[in-house]
């Protein structure tokens, strides 16, 4: 939570780091495309490896469980699922091109797998935002 001191200090630190570090949204974009990539850009090797490994593992488990990759937006739930899947960045596009994942959920574990893939995407978005916060100095 921001205190009065933090509110006053944040713009100064933020503008300083932003001017020093160039394009501040690069970690956000790289972090979205490659899980953990945003943290690697900040030289946070351990955090990046743990985040990337966790997200990759969840995505791989989802695919292994024959989870469904959302391809179209036919109804509201499909739109939400697609939004979650898109959070995986390149993993999603590579999987679509390679034809991984099921088109329909036929077994119980496929339902778990579908959730694993969606949540992996949502966690990847959180990780990318965290990398952006590191870049702007909002988080140390």
């Amino acid at each position: 939570m921001a205190t009065e001191e933090n509110k006053n200090a944040a713009p100064a630190n933020g503008s300083k780091s932003a001017s020093q570090q160039g394009f501040v949204y690069l970690p956000l974009i790289v972090g979205w495309l490659v899980p953990g990539g945003g943290h690697f850009l900040q030289r946070k090797w351990g955090r990046g490896a743990l985040l990337g490994g966790s997200i990759l593992a969840m995505f791989a488990l989802g695919i292994a469980m024959q989870g469904k990759l959302y391809a179209g937006a036919h109804d509201v739930l499909d739109i939400l699922g697609l939004a979650g899947d898109l959070g995986n960045g390149l993993l999603y596009f590579i999987s679509r091109i390679a034809g991984w994942g099921a088109d329909q959920v036929l077994v119980t574990t496929a339902d778990y797998g579908t959730r694993f893939i969606v949540v992996a995407g949502l966690l990847n978005v959180i990780a990318a935002v965290d990398a952006h916060n590191l870049r702007t100095g909002r988080k140390s």
Binding site: L50, M65, V119, L123, I126, A127
Partner: protein
């Protein structure tokens, strides 16, 4: 894979991400990660029993 194994795996990986992204110091990250893991698994067990008792 059993439902419980899926829950444990889900909780494990999600807790790692939550721990790293929601806290600043490594010690706090580990503590928060463990806290999230326990809450994930415990809430899954409790809700499972609740649903079992409702369905009876």
């Amino acid at each position: 894979m059993t439902h419980f194994a899926a829950v444990v795996l889900f909780a494990f990986f999600a807790s790692i991400v939550f721990g790293i992204t929601q806290r600043e110091k490594p010690r706090d990250m580990i503590r928060y990660g463990i806290y999230c893991f326990v809450l994930f698994v415990a809430s899954a067990i409790v809700l499972s029993w609740v649903m079992y008792l409702i369905a009876r």
